[in-house]
Symmetry: C2
Subunit: 318 residues, 2 copies
């Protein structure tokens, strides 16, 4: 691993959609985001979806720490920090060894998935033609880190926490708090002001929050913590290639970069992508309009949001 | 109390600055904000300060639950919910019984203090000439409630929590998490992006967050929780006078209302005050510029922010 340790017999979960072309030039990599496993992010793949498997060979890859790929929950000596750099190295090996793919038509990702896509573009500049950075950033912003470190402290404060990111049992009450805190960040203030959290199933805020309180029940706390550390350390320049020089890492990217921050995202900010833009040689900034906050980038169940995403991504991939 | 229970032998902490005029017409009430005791908010009172005690008789009053006034930490049977309504009833009695004051020249408050000032204007329309609502709202917004309920859940998840908002011992690790979470909300994303959290004393984010991690060490968790509940329930219309009808409560206000949200405040939003404005008969919206988030309204140590606040408040009070 970039920051020490190793995963013995590392595993990567993955699922493909569509057919790899004989020239092996239609692969679109789609890594997972925080807390998610690939089935949860599959909804936008389809002939009429955002990623069209009749044209592209879409490869979903589970991030280390997500409970399917090597994670604290399935690996005794999981290293203290597994980074996006480590993830993309393993993804590159997977694509080469299993599919013989050396070059991606595109890397597409949302949130931590976007950070992995960004790492692909910066770490393997010759291997990526296009990237779609959907609610992600090249380096995790300080404010985003404050959010993450609050969540870390909630899990670490649990009586079930044994230390070193390991737990004697699942910390049910800490995960309840974790979910509520997440609910404050994942959607925008305007989303709540407009009452979009209300529905026949969730007639008031308490009912809506109950969904968040139980959201992480099935996710091992040790995995949640490992992924938080990965996110907190996200930085395309923190590696031997770029030596911590973010402008240099951005300038090394040869892919065409579509930056799609959510207009009202509270932790991956439009301003963060705006600051990256001058350093990118071929990039476009296209904020996703609306009041869905960070969720604007993964608009399951939101028809208008999905239509916007589909049109923008399809144009970029053409 | 509005929602049941009573505080036997209720106590209010207070401190006055300046001299009450013979006509008793120069009183400016200045209630405390979340987690604060009056000395922490005293810095802006001075002949050249925001509140000038050579002109006004400034009465700082400690909110119930802040550890000086009646609070869980000093009152065995403290009620489950003590509201801003309850606070302003007690404040009115204090002003009448101790000083013979029936009418305020102004009520000035920041954050939860602003919510109390708003309650004064709505609950005693004839008793308040001016109010300054500095980073506050007439009703706590849903998004703000999500923030607060996350904090509640952090304290409730502590192994020291006995239930019912009482603690067997101070929950040190939970308060560490509490402080970190607060740090993400109290300042804006832009504040952190600009590196304003960095100084010779706090050369990196971890060092800056250590200040927040220990910020609540001296504040009893039961008091922190009681004040969160009060904030969560903040609503100038939730009382027998206004029956839950917020537009009616806003329309009942006779005071001249200066709404000063922080332009980049993450929980008391400019949009929340904008929504109140059409219902107020005599009000002005004056967002506080800058990137200090919620702290823009209590700009201790920030000369530009203090100058802006001083000028606006002095004009309003004249």
């Amino acid at each position: 691993m970039l920051h020490g340790g190793a995963i013995a017999d590392a595993m990567l979960g993955w699922k493909t959609h569509g057919t790899l072309s004989p020239a092996r030039d239609n692969a679109v990599l789609y890594p997972t985001s925080y807390g998610a496993r690939h089935p949860e992010l599959e909804w936008l793949i389809g002939p009429d979806g955002v990623l069209d498997p009749t044209r592209w060979f879409v490869v979903q890859v589970d991030m280390f720490g997500n409970g399917i790929s090597s994670s604290p929950s399935n690996t005794a000596d999981y290293p203290p920090l597994v980074t996006a750099w480590d993830n993309v190295q393993a993804q590159r090996q997977l694509l080469r060894d299993v599919f013989g793919i050396d070059r991606l038509h595109a890397a597409y990702g949302w949130s931590m998935g976007a950070q992995q896509a960004y790492h692909w573009a910066a770490c393997f500049p010759e291997a990526v033609e296009r990237v779609v950075i959907n609610c992600g950033s090249a380096r995790t912003a300080a404010h985003n880190q404050v959010f993450l470190r609050g969540l870390m402290a909630v899990l670490e404060a649990a009586p079930e926490h044994r230390g070193e990111g390991r737990f004697a049992a699942e910390p049910a009450l800490a995960k309840r708090a974790f979910g509520r805190i997440y609910a404050g960040w994942a959607l925008s203030q305007d989303f709540y002001r407009a009452g979009l959290h209300l529905s026949p199933e969730t007639p008031d805020l308490a009912a809506y929050l109950r969904g968040w309180e139980t959201r992480y029940d099935a996710k091992p706390a040790a995995d949640l913590l490992a992924q938080l550390r990965c996110w907190d350390a996200g930085d395309i320049s923190d590696n031997p290639l770029h030596g911590g020089d973010l402008p240099r890492a951005l300038a090394a990217i040869r892919a065409r970069v579509l930056l799609m921050p959510g207009a009202t995202d509270l932790y991956f900010r439009v301003a963060d992508n705006e600051a990256e833009l001058p350093h990118l040689r071929d990039a476009k900034l296209l904020p996703i309009p609306g009041i869905h906050g960070h969720r604007a980038g993964n608009p399951a169940g939101n028809a208008a949001g999905t239509a916007f995403l589909r049109e923008a991504v399809r144009l970029w991939l053409d």
